[in-house]
Assembly symmetry: C2
Homo-oligomer: 249 residues x 2
């Protein structure tokens, strides 16, 4: 049985706690949260509100906002404790030097209101010491079938790529939703197209899946679209992405 | 039995011909193609290479490039023939004035290499004459469960929205793929996140689904990302979309 403590109670932390709680090979010893928590803890897990109460475990996972990781790690007064953060964008080295450092980064978008099937969530792991890797891999494999050894530079770039495919893509959906509201057609009319766009890149390289006025240099349609878009920033986005499709493929 | 002729043999035309060929209530009389065709025609459908050979039918569908629609429609020498084009961006009125005008716009991204389940494809229909609407609706309903009466201005804006959610989203996938290649991690690591991003907006409004550094005004992460992006245009896209998330929600 591997013992784990989780520091944090946000989106990622709460999903991890629940997922580990369902693992027969993992015992979640303690959960630290500054405030009350709004989700259920596994049986036998102790909620603490003071980091001085932390007990040594096989692995402590810090799942707090990026800017708080270093400070929180400095409050873990268990020398040589193995500690992983869950951030996509922060270097492993920001953890306190008194600790054995690691990263446990689940690459998924989490909402508290929505359950996640963790077996499909890629997990990127990294350790400061080579002989901690086996434990990290065991813990990651207990949740997911898709575990990758990824160094800090790669992880940072995965996070950047994730911003494009998640945050920015979602914003394009928001723009489409605004256009639908303005012209009184249901946003739902676009869902099959959205699904198909996503489905396609499971089989085709994105550049081979590209179609539309930008790709075929259809300036008549492009200019006519630009004249119809009322939001200046949405117009700029249309123009820049059209140019990038034409120059980068 | 409703008789249809299709002018064109591109992506949209070929999928429509195949789908109508599988409809018991529709007979595809003729297909016009300038060149040889690389897909199978329904039994009893005649391939013609000269528009002078067109026979009167219940509905002629012109599925050619936007810039060719007007010219092709002028070559249909059957006065008062009901004729629909399939373009998302062109006005119904660009069809020749000797014809009864209509639009039959299937809102989906078509690739020749990939089959389409037409029952899930929204179809937007419009007619010049109110009493042609029933036939257009019957034809559209024979293919799809999602048929909408949509006027030309709405249709143009649906097409604009479709460019954002299809062409531009696909380009964001292409950017992520370039980042993956550059930093030697598999693009596949991003697929569960891409799927979840799409899945979410079936249940949440896009602005309620938004997360990430732009949304939480995390300038440290944003600046660190911008410094890591080598392609200047991808950097500009990151900056503009971040700004738009912050200003438009």
């Amino acid at each position: 049985m591997i013992s784990i403590t989780i520091i944090g109670s946000g989106n990622v932390a709460s999903h991890l706690i629940t997922a580990f709680g369902n693992c027969k090979t993992i015992s979640v010893k303690q959960v630290f949260s500054r405030a009350k928590i709004d989700f259920e803890l596994p049986t036998n897990t102790k909620l603490i509100h003071n980091l001085a109460e932390l007990k040594p475990v096989d692995l402590v996972i810090i799942s707090v906002s990026d800017s708080a990781i270093t400070e929180v790690s400095a409050q873990i007064k268990i020398p040589n404790q193995l500690v992983a953060h869950t951030s996509g964008s922060m270097d492993m080295n920001i953890l306190d030097d008194s600790l054995r450092k690691a990263v446990f980064y689940p690459l998924q978008t989490f909402s508290k209101s929505k359950n996640i099937n963790f077996s499909e969530v890629p997990i990127a792991v990294e350790t400061q010491h080579e002989n901690d890797m086996e434990l990290l891999l065991t813990v990651a494999n207990s949740l997911s079938a898709k575990v990758f050894k990824i160094n800090s530079i790669q992880r940072k770039n995965i996070h950047i790529a994730a911003v494009y495919v998640n945050n920015f893509t979602n914003h394009l959906y928001k723009i489409a939703n605004d256009i639908a509201d303005e012209h009184q057609f249901p946003f739902e009319i676009l869902l099959p197209l959205i699904d198909e766009t996503t489905e396609k890149i499971h089989h085709l390289k994105p550049e081979d899946a590209q179609t539309g006025p930008a790709k075929r240099h259809d300036d008549v349609t492009i200019n006519s679209h630009l004249q119809s878009i009322n939001n200046k920033m949405y117009q700029d986005i249309y123009q820049l992405l059209t140019k990038s499709i034409q120059e980068n493929g």
